[in-house]
Symmetry: C2
DNA sequence: ACACAGTCTGAACGTTGTTCAGGAGTCGAT
DNA sequence: ATCGACTCCTGAACAACGTTCAGACTGTGT
C-alpha cells in the first residue's frame, strides 16, 4: 500500500508536495498525541480529543493511522529508537561492569521520564499480544529483547575476561537477573507513589539510593572479589 | 449505609435471611467475575458478560457493587489476604535469610498463578490512583507496602544478627532492592512471552533458574562471607 | 472544461459502563 | 385478608468510546 511508487512513474511536483504534507500531518498528529499519551496514559486519551486538538474531525485520523493502537505503537517505536541509541552508547566503555551500571542508570532514567511509554512497552494490555508482535517482529527481535541482548553482550564480555564468579558460566541468566532488577526498580518507582515509603523512619529510599543499592549488590554478588574495586582500562 | 443495624432494632428472622441471601449473591458474583478476570483480564471482562453468566440483568450487579472497579478491587482484596497469609507463614523460620528466600519463592508463585491480579494490584491503570487508595487506606498501609514491611522485618533481623555486610546499616534500601528484584522477575515472566528468550543458545532461562540466580546474587551480595553457607537454627 | 483522485466531514454503528423509572415480589402490621 | 413499605430485579435509556462510510469538497492532469 505504498503511496509513492504505486504507478511506476516518476512523481510529479504536486505529488511530492502532497507526500510532504501527508508526512507533516502524520508528524503533527503524533506530536499532539504523544503529549497526551505521556501526560494522561493510553486509555484516558480519546481519538476525539486528539482530533479536537489538531482541529480535525475524528475520522481524519484514520486516514493516517489504522487505529488508535497503531498510532500509539508508532509513537512508541519512534521514541524507543532514542532509548536504544542512548543505551548503545554505553557499549563503548571499556569495563563491562561500567557498561552495565551505566546502562542500568540510563534505562531507569528513561523509564521514569516516560512512565506511560514504559508501562505500555513492557506491560501491554494482554489483549495486544498478537498485534504488538506484528509491529515488533519486523523491526528485528523485540524492543525488550534488544535491551536484553545488549546486557547479555556485556555479560558475555565480563565472563570472557574472567570477572564473574566461577559459578556463573552462562550469560543469559545473569543478564536476565540484571534486567529484572532494573525493571523492578523502574516499575515500582512508576507505579507506587514513592512518598509511601518515605515514612520509613528517616531512611534514604530515594531512587538514586535504590539504584545504587541494586547495582552494588549485583556487583558484589556476580563479580569476583578481586575485580570489585573500579579500574579503568582493563584491556 | 450499613444494611444491618440501620434502625436500632434487633434484626428479625427474615431480615437475617435476606442478609444471608445478599451475602450469597455477592459471593456468587465475585466467584464468577474472579474466574473471568483471571482468565481474560480486566478490560476484556464486560459487566454484561458477568450478568449473563450469573443469569441476571446488568443493572443488578450495581445493587451489590458500586461499579466495575469496586467489584474488581473487592476480589483483589479478598485474594490478597491469601497471599499475605501465605507469606506471613515464612516469618516463623529461624534464619532470616531463609525467610527472604522462601518469601520470594512464594511471592513469585502467587504472582505467576494470578497474573491478572498481580498486574492490576501492582500496576493499576494510572487513572485509578485516587480510588484505589480509597480502597486501600482503610485496610492499614497498602497491600504492596505490607509485603515490603514483611521483607523489611526480615532484613532488620538479619542486620541485628550481624549477617549483612557492614555497609548495609539501613534495612529499607535492602528490602526495597529485594522486592524490586522479585517484582522484576515476576513482571517479566508475566508480560514477556517466555519462549522469546528460550532461543538463547540452549541456556537455561526457566523461571526457577532466574529465581535461583536472583536469590543467589542477593545472598552473595548482601550477606557476609561467613554466613553464606546455609545453617539451620541460628538462635 | 471535465473527470478523477485524494482529503475531510458528520452522521452513524456497535459496545462499553452506568443510571433509573417502574414492575414484581415479600414481610410485618393492621 | 389486606394494605403499605421495603427490597429486588428488569429493560430501556444515556453518554462516551473506537471505528466506518457515503458524500461534499478541493485541487490536479488532460
Amino acid at each position: 500500500m505504498d503511496r509513492a511508487q504505486e504507478k511506476c512513474q516518476s512523481p510529479s511536483v504536486s505529488e511530492i508536495r502532497r507526500e510532504r504534507e501527508r508526512a507533516e500531518m502524520v508528524a503533527r498528529i503524533m506530536d499532539v498525541a504523544r503529549d497526551m499519551f505521556v501526560r494522561d496514559g493510553y486509555e484516558a486519551v480519546t481519538l476525539r480529543k486528539i482530533a479536537e486538538a489538531i482541529e480535525y474531525s475524528p475520522g481524519t485520523i484514520y486516514q493516517y493511522f489504522k487505529d488508535k493502537q497503531a498510532l500509539f505503537m508508532k509513537i512508541l517505536a519512534t521514541d524507543y529508537v532514542d532509548l536504544r541509541k542512548n543505551l548503545s552508547e554505553c557499549l563503548v566503555l571499556e569495563n563491562p561492569v561500567e557498561v552495565m551500571v551505566e546502562m542500568a542508570r540510563r534505562y531507569a532514567m528513561w523509564g521514569i521520564t516516560h512512565p506511560n511509554h514504559y508501562r505500555l512497552l513492557l506491560m501491554p494490555p494482554q489483549a495486544w499480544e498478537e498485534e504488538t508482535q506484528d509491529l515488533r517482529k519486523p523491526a528485528s527481535p523485540t524492543p525488550e529483547k534488544q535491551l536484553f541482548l545488549m546486557l547479555d553482550q556485556a555479560v558475555k564480555v565480563a565472563i570472557s575476561r574472567g570477572m564473574l564468579k566461577e559459578k556463573y558460566t552462562e550469560s543469559a541468566p545473569v543478564a536476565a537477573t540484571l534486567w529484572a532488577g532494573i525493571h523492578g526498580v523502574v516499575m515500582l518507582e512508576i507505579t507506587t507513589s514513592t512518598e509511601e515509603f518515605a515514612q520509613l523512619g528517616g531512611q534514604d529510599l530515594s531512587l538514586e539510593k535504590r539504584l545504587d543499592t541494586l547495582t552494588g549488590v549485583f556487583v558484589d554478588g556476580f563479580l569476583k572479589e578481586k575485580v570489585k574495586p573500579r579500574r579503568r582500562s582493563n584491556a
